[in-house]
Symmetry: C2
Subunit: 147 residues, 2 copies
DNA sequence: CCGAGAAACTTGACTGATTCCAGAAATGGT
DNA sequence: ACCATTTCTGGAATCAGTCAAGTTTCTCGG
């Protein structure tokens, strides 16, 4: 079970207490990147039994604040969470089903882009969301018809 | 009043019926770009009297669908609406007060950026949000909570 | 080993933003 | 002006998430 201890270490290094809900949330996120709170709650419950909804929201909140979890909120979908947090990568979101995919940031460090005008803002991050249709939602075209 | 008729024309060209709520919502948006539904409802009411909340939401919905209004939904803030819709420009959002500013897209046509990997998605838009602190919320000023 | 204080969890009410619904009113083509 | 269609009204309902109060659990000094 030593290989399952990474979650404990993540929490420890972030200065957070190690508790069953926390460890489980992190493990769930490792398995299902971009899961919504809803999904996470379900997975945590089927993993360790009863856990309050609030507890999971608390865990997500403290982990996000501690910088070990990243929250993404694509328009029209509930918040999603992921563990990839160091690299400032971006996301592909399906307009039809909401599926989220990761794309590496082409430009390296944050903010990876510069606004053309700054309007006096002190910009620290450029968040990029690529909108499109995922392979599963693609219109049913026959393979022969490759226009 | 001929110069106030642009709203009617916009609706007409979009194939939408001309009604007081619609015309007023468009005028409000012209004056206050990036307004939230809340703000729009207030402004419409002080303009033409009683209008149901639902009516405004309907107007925003049909206009967005018709492509004459654009909806933006920065994380942690209610949806905002704007009339700039042809050019695919981007936004600056203040982490503190939520103020939104426009920035022209440096790269021209949509999608102005290309994801480094496509994962099979058919990408049609790259949405960029620059996060930062606006001049009004900049540090040197004393922290007078207005959240 | 014990107890105090802090941190985390549970429960349940509550909020804000938005949508759904059914009926009444307004719009625009003939 | 008439009528079918579209839009607006009012109110209930939903969804995602937050708040607050009370209880349990952990951690650490004595």
């Amino acid at each position: 079970m030593a290989e399952l201890r990474w979650a404990n270490e993540m929490l420890q290094q972030a200065g957070l207490r190690i508790t069953a809900p926390r460890v489980t949330v992190l493990r769930v996120l490792a398995e299902r990147p971009h899961a919504a709170a809803d999904t996470i709650i379900g997975a945590v419950r089927s993993d360790i039994g009863a856990v309050s909804t609030q507890a999971v929201y608390n865990v997500l909140q403290v982990c996000t604040d501690a910088g070990i979890v990243r929250r993404i909120q694509p328009a029209g979908s509930p918040a999603r969470y992921e563990l990839r947090v160091r690299d400032n990568h971006h996301h592909l979101v399906c307009r039809s089903c909401g599926t989220v995919g990761d794309v590496d940031c082409a430009a390296g460090e944050a903010p990876c882009l510069e606004p053309s005008e700054r309007l006096g803002f002190d910009v620290d991050e450029a968040e990029v969301v690529f909108w499109g249709i995922c392979p599963d939602c693609a219109p049913p075209v026959r393979e022969e018809e490759t226009v």
